[in-house]
Amino acid sequence: MLGLGADLLWADMNRLLAFLFHQGVLDEQFLQLQQLQDETSPNFVSEVVNIYFHESEKLLRNLRGLLMEREFSDYKKMGIHLNQLTGSSSSIGAKRVTNVCLAFRAATDHNNRSGCLRALEMLEHEYCYLKNKLHELFQIEQQRVLAAGVRYPVQNN
């Protein structure tokens, strides 16, 4: 019974993952992250993702602050924040977020403030979506581990 629960959760998780891949929210880089998770670093993925959330929220706040300035003109500084966000998003496999970042960067290259604003909004939207989905994923994972742990001492995926 417990095992079945764990299996069900496992199936749920996979379904969710497949869904996210299909939607383009995640890409194969996320898979690589999962592969890096092993006995030596059992919580690698969630650790990395949490760091990512933490940093990205900071960056998004900065970006929003910059764009909201009445006399905003510092595209360069925005570019710096954006660079970091792009790099980290692509490093964890957040494909849609990365794509929006690229569009955002194009807008900054052209000093297009309204374009930047639009891109920022889209970015925030995508980021929130990603965060929710990943949280959901981790929840299922946790439950699955718990459920599996009850049945078997060690259950690797």
Partner: protein
């Protein structure tokens, strides 16, 4: 695990140092590298990385570094590591801009990876270590495995032949990227190389600052073209240094110089400001140093300025006539009226005039912003340092490793740095012209800083001015130096026009013209009061020029001017008068300008230690100069007048200036004949 074990199992256990300010990427990278069985050390600060590397260079085999880092530019780190520790460095970046990749390669990166980094790419990075080991100090042994591949049987390295045999060599040579068998072969080969006395791996040479300095001295002595490693080696006379070490270092040095000269030429192309500035600064500096009595007006600076294309229009007639007033003269404290004249002339002149204006330092004290700030400290880049300046300064200072090079790159730069450092003048000069061009030439950290400070001061000062018309010309200047700064910055400045925009953006949109004006009127760091006075005068005088009805203005202006003159150091008075002028002119001036000037006034007043806040204010008001040309003309005219007359009063200065101003309506530097006496020209007559 012993070192030998590591070597034998190479690339397993290869020691990698990963540097990236982004914690997400750093963690991912760390784990990826661990997965490849490398030994990983991470840090998110370039400075910390350098410290670790310097502490024990042999602790690492490879460095992976991000390009965009807040505390230090990745390329700079790359160069430093390559120079000092001679370790292979892989660059990492979030975007694949070709320019950046090119920059990485020219700076000596062995590879350039893009985020997200994949594990397949990381599995191959060990080959860079092998290549580096084999290529470096054992060049003459043709130590590279690649070369040995086909020639394994015959040539060179006994170690290769001894154990591995030609097959392995060939493998090494041809199939670097291959599998673990290769790894073992490489490991063995390396081991063999290490053991074999004839091809003994020489310890890597650390090119310390001392060593590098000797190297540069030797190269300079021989002449860059004629510098061959053997001769350099002989000249340096350092024990334990081999020709190969020198050869590889020379190659890097040449690359570095090429980059730097490209930067310099870019700056030069932007408006000749570089040479102009350089010359000017050097002269200015010289002048500053010699600082003879009031009457002295060294011309070199001016002439050089004249030749520079920055203010071509202004230069041609005006400069020539200004001959007497070289930039250096400007710097000289003594002559007041003369200084004014010089200030009138384009950049260089302007500076000069400002400086000579007053011999009394008290006047200079009053000089607004840049001057004041500058005068206190030579390298005080703080005042009004704009973003750019800061970037530039930091950029240069950061590249300490290249200090020598920088100096050699720009011949004038040597003079510049000293000039820049030694006296506020340099600052002033920078301020006058917003001149970064000068600075870049110097390339020295000091000069660079000074250069940057200069313009920055000006910029601050000018910040209030929104008048971009004049700014254009000025912007060219400031823009130019920026490119030079760029070598250490990731984003090169766009050519002049754009630079201006960038500059202004960075600076906070200080109106360029204002700055130029300021430069003119406000001698940079010069502590000479006369400068300030000059400034004020110029300001006053200039202001009218910007008005459509010069005559009227002139009257007002003159009034102000007189007031100022009479109490040049009376900040209160001048302040009042200037504000009056400001207000009167205000209607003509853009509202912003006026506003700026007022605000500027306030700021300046605070800054000015004493004397003429009015000057500053005048400057502010002056933002309206229609064009730098006009302004310059004004200056020039007045200068001419000044030169001739050796005035000691502002009136003297003012009159010619006014005259010029009036003349400028005709857009003709015709009166530059300089025979304008000090007699006061009735306003009406001039028009």
């Amino acid at each position: 695990m012993t070192v030998e074990d590591q070597i034998d199992r190479f690339p397993v256990g290869m020691r990698v140092l990963a540097v990236d300010d982004d914690p997400t990427c750093l963690k991912v990278l760390e784990n990826l590298l661990r997965k490849c069985q490398y030994q990983v050390t991470t840090t998110n600060q370039a400075i910390e990385a350098l410290r670790m590397l310097r502490e024990n260079r042999n602790k690492f085999d490879l460095v992976i570094s991000d390009v965009n880092m807040p505390d230090m530019d990745g390329f700079k780190l790359l160069e430093l590591v390559g120079l000092e520790m001679d370790l292979p460095v892989i660059m990492l970046s979030g975007h694949s801009d070709t320019k950046l990749v090119m920059k990485g390669v020219t700076h000596g990166a062995v590879d350039y990876l893009l985020k997200p980094v994949r594990i397949e790419e990381l599995k191959n990075i060990w080959q860079h270590v092998v290549r580096r080991k084999n290529f470096d100090p054992r060049d003459q042994n043709k130590g590279s495995n690649d070369k040995r591949g086909p020639n394994a049987a015959g040539e060179g390295n006994q170690s290769i032949i001894s154990e591995d045999g030609s097959d392995q060599n060939k493998n090494l040579g041809k199939k670097r990227k291959d599998q673990t068998e290769e790894e073992e072969d490489d490991g063995e080969d390396n081991g063999e190389d290490n053991d074999d006395p004839s091809s003994q791996k020489k310890p890597r040479v650390v090119w310390s600052v001392e060593l590098h300095r000797k190297f540069v001295a030797a190269v300079n002595q021989l002449g860059l073209d004629k510098a061959v490693p053997k001769k350099i080696l002989d000249l340096m006379n350092v024990e334990g240094l081999t020709r190969e070490n020198v050869a590889s270092h020379l190659q890097k040095y040449r690359l570095y110089l090429k980059k730097a000269t490209q930067q310099a030429s870019m700056v030069a192309a932007l408006g000749n400001t570089e040479s102009y500035l350089r010359i000017g600064s050097i002269d200015a500096y010289a002048e500053f140093c010699t600082s003879s009595g009031p009457g002295k007006i060294p011309n070199p600076a001016l002439q050089s300025y004249a030749s520079s294309g920055i203010f071509g229009r202004l230069n041609s007639p005006a400069n020539l006539s200004m001959r007497g007033i070289s930039a250096s003269t400007l710097i000289q404290p003594p002559v007041q009226p003369q200084n004014l004249n010089s200030t009138l002339s384009p950049l260089g002149n302007i500076q000069a005039s400002i400086f000579p204006a007053n011999q009394t330092s008290s006047l200079l004290q009053g000089i607004p912003t840049s001057i004041e700030l500058n005068q206190s400290k030579q390298n005080n880049c703080t005042t009004g340092i704009t973003q750019v300046n800061q970037v530039s300064c930091s950029g240069f200072t950061a590249a300490s490793g290249f200090r020598d090079r920088r100096l050699t790159v720009g011949t004038a730069s040597n003079a510049l740095p000293s000039a820049a450092c030694n006296s506020p003048q340099t600052h002033n000069s920078g301020a006058f012209r917003n001149q970064p061009p000068v600075r870049p030439a110097s390339l020295g950290t000091d000069s660079f800083d000074a250069g940057i400070c200069g313009p920055s001061n000006m910029l601050d000062y000018n910040r209030c001015n929104k008048n971009w018309q004049n700014a254009e010309q000025l912007s060219k200047l400031p823009a130019n130096p920026l490119p030079l700064c760029e070598p250490f910055n990731n984003d090169p400045l766009p050519p002049t026009g754009i630079n201006v925009a960038n500059t202004s953006t960075r600076i906070g949109n200080s109106p360029v013209d204002y700055s130029s004006r300021v430069a003119i009127s406000v001698p940079l760091e010069d502590t000479r009061n006369e400068l300030q006075r000059q400034e004020g005068l110029i300001e006053n005088i200039v202001q009218p020029s910007s008005y459509t009805t010069p005559s009227q203005r002139w009257e007002e202006h003159k009034l102000e001017y007189s007031q100022n003159m009479s109490r040049p150091f009376n900040s209160v008075n001048s302040h009042v008068s200037s504000s009056r002028v400001t207000s009167s002119l205000g209607h003509n001036l853009n509202q912003t300008n006026a506003a700026c000037s007022n605000s500027v006034d306030a700021s300046f007043v605070g800054q000015l230690s004493g004397a003429p806040p009015s000057i500053i204010q005048c400057t502010n008001v002056d933002t309206r100069l229609k064009s730098n040309d006009a302004y310059m003309l004004e200056l020039m005219k007045s200068r001419d007048g000044f030169i001739q007359n050796n005035f000691g009063t502002l009136d003297d200065i003012m009159v010619p200036m006014v005259k010029r101003f009036l003349m400028q309506e005709q857009n003709e530097p015709t009166f530059i004949d300089g025979e304008m006496g000090f007699e006061a020209y009735p306003v009406g007559s001039c028009i």
